[in-house]
């Protein structure tokens, strides 16, 4: 369970990205965060695994307050949380298999990993994650040889290899074409449903968010302006979140 209590984030340049966010996300949910660019979606998401440190309020993960966690404790926390990025963030010059194996790096001693040594069980886990994502046959190809959709699946396999309870996705389909977008979103839905992994995703396309997520959190100017079921969203609420009616590019349009 993730619990935000009056969470605030002010960047060193004075920008107040979060102005007091309180919410709870329960295990097994598929949550989409929507809002304008610059509304604070990314900050909200990244504060959960402390890629961004909050400057006010409290943030609990399974009843542990994370603001004070650092060093080894923080790394232990992060390794149980998968993260997916807009630009996939794979090591392009490495094979798909080695990329996926990096999901196990934090579970192994530094000395061994520096020499590229992993236990057999971890190697098997990496290959099984690739199989789950349907790209086992690509295991020994260099990551930059794959298409965008395939690369995002490799990133998902890397996240799965961490054996996470939670996956954070920051605009996971924003750099994909409409067809691959649907495939990757289906993958998220499958991971959420079959493996019971909680998904929190920032979404640019509102219709996709409504279709796949079970819960929508609307962010505007660093504050939560809507929090409820996808089914409860109507045009009035969207106008409230976006401050205007939706633009064409905010819909995938099916």
């Amino acid at each position: 369970m993730i619990k935000f209590v009056d969470v605030q984030k002010t960047y060193p340049n004075g920008v107040q990205a979060l102005k007091g966010v309180s919410l709870e996300i329960h295990d097994g949910e598929f949550v989409a965060i929507i809002g304008l660019s610059g509304a604070g979606k990314s900050t909200l998401l990244r504060s959960i695994n402390k890629m961004i440190a909050i400057t006010g309020g409290q943030l609990f993960l399974d009843d542990v307050e994370i603001s004070s966690i650092k060093g080894k404790g923080l790394r232990m926390l992060r390794r149980s949380i998968g993260m997916i990025f807009q630009s996939f963030n794979l090591v392009k010059r490495m094979s798909v298999y080695n990329n996926v194996l990096t999901g196990r790096v934090a579970y192994n001693p530094t000395f061994k990993t520096v020499f590229g040594l992993f236990p057999k069980a971890d190697k098997l886990l990496a290959l099984e994650s690739l199989d789950t994502m349907g790209i086992l046959d690509k295991a020994f190809i260099r990551a930059d040889q794959l298409s965008g959709g395939q690369q995002q699946r490799v990133a998902l396999a890397r996240a799965l290899t961490q054996k996470p309870k939670l996956i954070l996705a920051d605009e996971p389909v924003a750099s994909l074409d409409p067809i691959t977008t649907v495939q990757v979103m289906d993958d998220f839905a499958r991971i959420n449903r079959d493996l019971g992994i909680t998904i929190v995703a920032n979404m640019h396309h509102v219709d996709l968010a409504l279709k796949y997520a079970t819960r929508i959190i609307g962010i505007k100017d660093g504050l939560v302006v809507f929090d409820g079921k996808s089914a409860d969203i109507n045009d009035e609420i969207l106008v409230n979140i976006y401050g205007r009616s939706l633009k064409h590019d905010e819909l995938l349009g099916e």
Binding site: N49, M51, L74, R75, M76, L77, R78, R79, S80, I81, G82, M83, F85, S87, F88, N89, L90, V91, K92, R93, M94, N98, T102, G103, V105, A106, T110, T113, V114, A155, R158, Q162
Partner: protein, 269 residues
């Protein structure tokens, strides 16, 4: 500044292009140069060049072509010594440069208090000419191949650290962020996100610096480190053909190294 009026009456002004300022400054520099540098063309004797070249690359003083080539092949001991020195120095210096390059990279260490001093150290090494490094090395380990290795090592260390951190600062940091998000520590993140990106370039630099070292090893003879430069030093005034022979050996060696390095770099792409 140019002003355009479109057919529909809209007006757009093209801003002044700063390239003209740069060009003007360059022209000023050239004028200043011709005024400032005393070019004494009285001693400019281009007709001497072919004469010297002929003296270098043909047998001199009653020697035959057989003597000339025999001499070239007799240089193999000195060549081995030179290569030992350059190889040892390049490898050790390159390896030592890796941690310093990482500590000098703004995108890896982020705090000025680390990359500042690290850069200061590497700049310090880079300001010392290789001959001075050799003199210092000789004072530590005596003259011999070890002194040469030390000199080459410090020299390599300085340039490699500088070139490497500049490469590290241009790499894609997205995958580094991804590694951090999996809970990997700094060393692990460097190993999996930085190393694969930097490694091919690093190997290319090792070869490149080795090549520079082979060429610059000649100069070390003048401060007492034995190398192919000995031939040049010992025959300064009389034996142009001996010097020519040594130059051929250095030339062929660095040609081979260049060929090898480009072949290896191609493989690593």
């Amino acid at each position: 500044m140019a002003k355009f009026t479109l057919t529909n009456g809209k007006i757009i002004v093209k801003p002044f292009n700063k390239i003209w300022l740069v060009l003007g400054a360059l022209i000023a520099l050239v004028i200043l140069f011709s005024y400032f540098i005393p070019l004494d063309l009285v001693n400019f004797k281009p007709d001497q060049l072919p004469i010297v070249l002929k003296k270098m690359f043909t047998p001199q003083r009653n020697r035959t072509w057989a003597d000339y080539f025999e001499f070239i092949f007799s240089l193999q001991d000195l060549l081995v010594l030179t290569l030992q020195m350059c190889y040892g120095g390049t490898v050790l210096g390159s390896l030592l440069a890796i941690p310093l390059a990482l500590l000098s990279s703004k995108n890896i260490v982020k705090t000025k208090f680390v990359y500042g001093p690290a850069r200061f150290i590497l700049n310090l090494f880079r300001t010392i000419p290789v001959t001075i490094l050799a003199v210092l090395s000789i004072s530590m380990v005596g003259s011999g191949v070890l002194a040469g290795i030390f000199a080459m090592m410090f020299f390599t260390f300085g340039i490699m650290a500088k070139m490497l951190y500049e490469v590290i600062e241009t790499i894609d940091m997205n995958c580094y962020e991804a590694l951090e998000s999996t809970g990997a520590n700094k060393l692990q993140s460097v190993r999996f996100a930085v190393l694969p990106q930097v490694f091919p370039v690093f190997i290319g630099y090792v070869m490149y610096i080795f090549e520079i070292n082979v060429r610059s090893s000649a100069i070390l003879s003048y401060v007492g480190v034995a190398s192919l430069g000995n031939v040049i030093r010992e025959n300064e005034l009389i034996g142009y053909d001996r010097i020519g022979g040594a130059i051929i050996v250095i030339f062929v060696t660095s040609l081979i190294v260049q060929f090898l390095s480009s072949a290896i770099r191609r493989k690593l792409q």
